[in-house]
Symmetry: D2
Subunit: 348 residues, 4 copies
């Protein structure tokens, strides 16, 4: 930590700040510059609130050197985390496609979509059973019935499942059906929930909050990691800005930054940022080009009849196009995506 | 709802959009303009996803006329909601001051602060027992012990209590000690929690999310109201923007807007936006001048030793200044705040 | 400047960074912490691009200690700048009201409004002659004719004038009629223009850009100051955020920050942020409560017929209310505003 | 335009609004819904300030149907604009690479870089002679000498030139040396400048402002087009958001939106958004994948010695990598980029 004193801070103020640091357990080094002094404080005090130093008389600002997260940092674990799960590896050379409907609506719907997803090389079936909806008057999901249908459809086509868990009280139930927990953007700082999934043994896909800085996103990951669950997948899904037309602004520049700061895999959800299916493919392509380890997209066999978020669901032919582009753009950036031969896909 | 067709949309496209609307239960009025046609759709379909119309061929955009919230709207309830609780009325002419420490830390601490708050005309004692902290390594609150101490200190000085509830599983416990539930900004769209407090009979203070639009904030209130709890207090606490130096940008312009859209009381939390105590008072004054019904501020008898957010806690003398300014600025804008005669304040 | 090395940076990398600093003319102090080393670089090198150090191998980040502006800083000039001009002083105890129409439209219009402004204690008449309009098809102002009418109306009622200068080529012309130059938000970083008004002897009101950080705003002021013109008035007018309903988010929290960083006076324009007149008064009140040195507002005798921005222009009775509130709220925060006795106002 | 009345608006208010519209020259169609009435106003009134209707009693909001820009819209010109200039075509199938240093610094520097650019298939040499710098104390460019050196280096290697024009007074001078004018992000709404380049015959690259919505960006283009210059190239370069680590957030989602709204070509500047060269390549790749028509990047032969923005300049080997990726990713999205055979590049 570096304490920057005001220009013209009195000698006693500098001494008082220095003493406060020593009292807190730091070693202090003082440097007197042309116009002002700074104090270098040595010691690893994660969790200390630096603002308590900032308000000392004569102190202009505090600069924290140590990142607030530890387990999520590349300094702690220099090698990429690769999450291996039922034949899929996430965070390595392979590009992973997660796809499915916004909500599980019926057995026929989720089975049909599972087949589509498997046919295009998707490995993980997404589908909501508990839905966080902006309006209390909107469809809220099928609950446990939805979870059962999701599991059954995934099993029929050799897929893994991912679904959102909205509340710590749901963790146990969802764990019976899901291979991967999804934490939604609006729950990124629901600490009770983060701790609860941190105590489970399932991988967790952690969506970035609408207004979360990169540091806050990694701190939310740290909550999960600090409970002993090291299988965290970060997911960029767009941030809130003033920019019009799109629902959210996809922050693809965050990918190379996070890849440098952390060892965790990063995937992208282009569907929610785009909001309309015609804009999903350009963003999906761009995400892979920017270095994402995979995608999670919404798709639907009859999007016009979807009970939620139909307009952003890819049509079956668009999912096929995406699959093909994952292969070609992936190759251009040194990654691998293999679409299966179509005739191979039939229910187990 | 108004459906705006593209310039040059084909006659069949206009007919198809019109038929889709009729199928959804709307009455349709068509207006042909100079360059393009629009369809006026009559019918109240809260919960319908308008984007499913936006993707029809030839449709340029959908304009929703009906607000997505109903119970929170002034159209539903034209008169101001005034929440009356133990002699305090919130949302009327009276300005209400809620104050206390960020976290309850000890019996001595919360008792001392309760006395300070009562002495300055505060009516409601705030204090966190379950703390949402960005870092898992920071102090997380005293839990139920904290709730007990808060209740006891408030009772001793004739104050009401407000404290944060972070998870739906805590609602029952917190209800035993708190007069008002606080929902934090990071939980504004934690729908399980909103529903849970909506089923209780306690008033709920709902902080605006860091990235929440005004409509989303009112929709979150609607979740609580739709469960039957009509005692919702809105709280502006700053939004996330690019602006530097302050932690958040206090959006005081939201106050006259919300007052026009909704009948619910609105208070302001200047402490979290400012981050440093020297900037709290100017924002507190400005909030009252802009029309807020009250304030919730952090204060501490020994802020340098506070276990959380000490730097933004007002010093006792600053709380006294705030109390005096509430009276004078309140008077200038037609509101009332009465600081008690100091000698009156002693434990019950 | 502080150079923070990566955790695990090699000894040679630290040495190389240190040598680079010495080569650039700094004195270097090295501090070895628990996990990483930092280098304190002493020397005042305003204008150096710190990112050229950030890209050195083993360097994690650069922390600049010296603020990039000098003349605008309170460190350079500890006392408040008070601008005195024809009996008005801006930046002292007095609150200053600048008011007038968005655009000068006709002799009758500007004369009528000048009388209104003078009657309410306004000292400075605003009115645009060259208008920056988002659309090329909107009214662009009367040009020099507008300047003449503004001057004449101001003189008739003993007012000073302020008007926008949009381009360096207009500076000479505008200087013939205006007492204060206004630089619009969209031109805050039009450096040719900043230099041009910096070479004039007129005070300059510098509006904050829609997306300008506080540091960038002060740097724009520095451009003017560095040319020798020390009479700069800062004007907060709202920043662009995601928040809906208002056109811009007025950042009142910036006022105490700027007041601490700089000696320059700060006023607020509530009209453009609000966009609609019914929201101007709450923001105007809040601005004074937050510590602004004055206001610049739009007003019009017949706003429904205004050629530009009529909806945000205060009605005459609203201007009167504002005048009265400036006095009462001003008093509550230790400032002075005196509305003249109405009978005093007649053309000179 | 659609006028939405308040719920419960009085019959006279509806009539008054209707009459006002008729007075303004609109034809009016009234639709009475379940809860409220709306008025459809027919007539093309670009330039009308809709807020003057919004303030009528009983009016809740105004929805504008007609886009404020005309010449920039795809409705006006359905086919893509392809700008052809000295053998280069921008906006067609070809991907165009513009590259060069931030500032022209010396004959040797710009000649060396011109050779690098030509060798990698770049067709347009960029280089600043008049530099908009945040600090008045930073290097401001070589002025006309820089323009001459840029021209000479470009000619030697068969390249076109692009350079920034900062002020309307510079247009004539810069036109003598530049094939394409660049308007910087901070000048996007410098209307005097937009009009001036609109009257020239050179193509204009218009960077998006830091806080510009897509509609405002297209309106700025409209200023140029409305003066008769139809050769406008839009350039996305990152917007200002709260997101940390990168200097700006590149809004790649804007590309498919703008491509649908407008016929103008769109290129991307990944250098300024990234700020550091290691993050430029991922964003450059992503831009092409998202549908950009080309890139403008900074490159330098000795970036460590660059007088401005060296840290974001690509190293020669990175420019070569970019060239190769333009070809492979371009192919994956149906575009063409051809890097010349290296031995072909020697001064003319």
């Amino acid at each position: 930590m570096v304490i920057v004193m005001e220009v013209g801070a009195a000698e006693e103020q500098i001494a008082a700040a220095s003493n406060k640091l020593i009292e807190l357990g730091f070693q202090v080094h003082r440097i007197d510059g042309v116009n002002q002094s700074i104090l270098g404080a040595i010691g690893d005090k994660r969790g200390l609130n630096a603002r308590q130093l900032e308000i000392l008389p004569g102190v202009r600002e505090i600069v924290e050197i140590t990142k607030p997260y530890k387990l999520a940092s590349r300094e702690f674990k220099p090698d990429d985390t690769v999450i291996r799960l039922g034949g899929v590896s996430l965070g390595g050379r392979e590009l992973v496609l997660m796809a499915g409907p916004c909500s599980v609506e019926s057995e026929e719907q989720i089975e049909t979509i599972a087949q589509l997803v498997a046919a295009q090389g998707g490995k993980i079936l997404r589908g909501g059973a508990f839905k966080p909806r902006t309006s209390p008057y909107s469809f809220q999901g099928l609950g446990e019935d939805g979870l059962k249908l999701l599991r059954q459809a995934a099993d029929a086509y050799g897929l893994l499942t991912i679904t959102e868990v909205m509340d710590s009280s749901q963790v146990e139930l969802v764990a019976q059906y899901a291979d991967i927990f999804q934490i939604g953007a609006r729950n990124m700082q629901n600490y009770s929930l983060l701790r609860a999934v941190g105590r489970s043994e399932r991988p967790v896909l952690l969506k970035r909050g609408l207004a979360a800085t990169i540091d806050e996103w990694l701190m939310a990951a740290e909550y999960i990691l600090s409970e002993g669950n090291y299988q965290v997948i970060l997911c960029e899904r767009g941030i809130r800005t003033f920019s019009d037309y799109n629902r959210f602004t996809l922050d693809l520049g965050a990918i190379p930054v996070v890849k440098r700061l952390s060892h965790l895999p990063v995937i992208v959800d282009p569907s929610h940022a785009a909001g309309l299916r015609e804009r999903v493919l350009p963003l999906a392509r761009a995400a892979i080009a920017a270095g994402a380890d995979g995608l999670i997209v919404e798709t639907h066999n009859r999007p016009d009849e979807a009970l939620s978020d139909g307009p952003q669901a890819l049509l079956p032919e668009q999912l096929a196009q995406l699959s093909s582009e994952l292969a070609t753009i992936g190759r251009a950036v040194g990654r691998v995506f293999e679409a299966p031969v179509l005739s191979d896909v039939s229910p187990n």
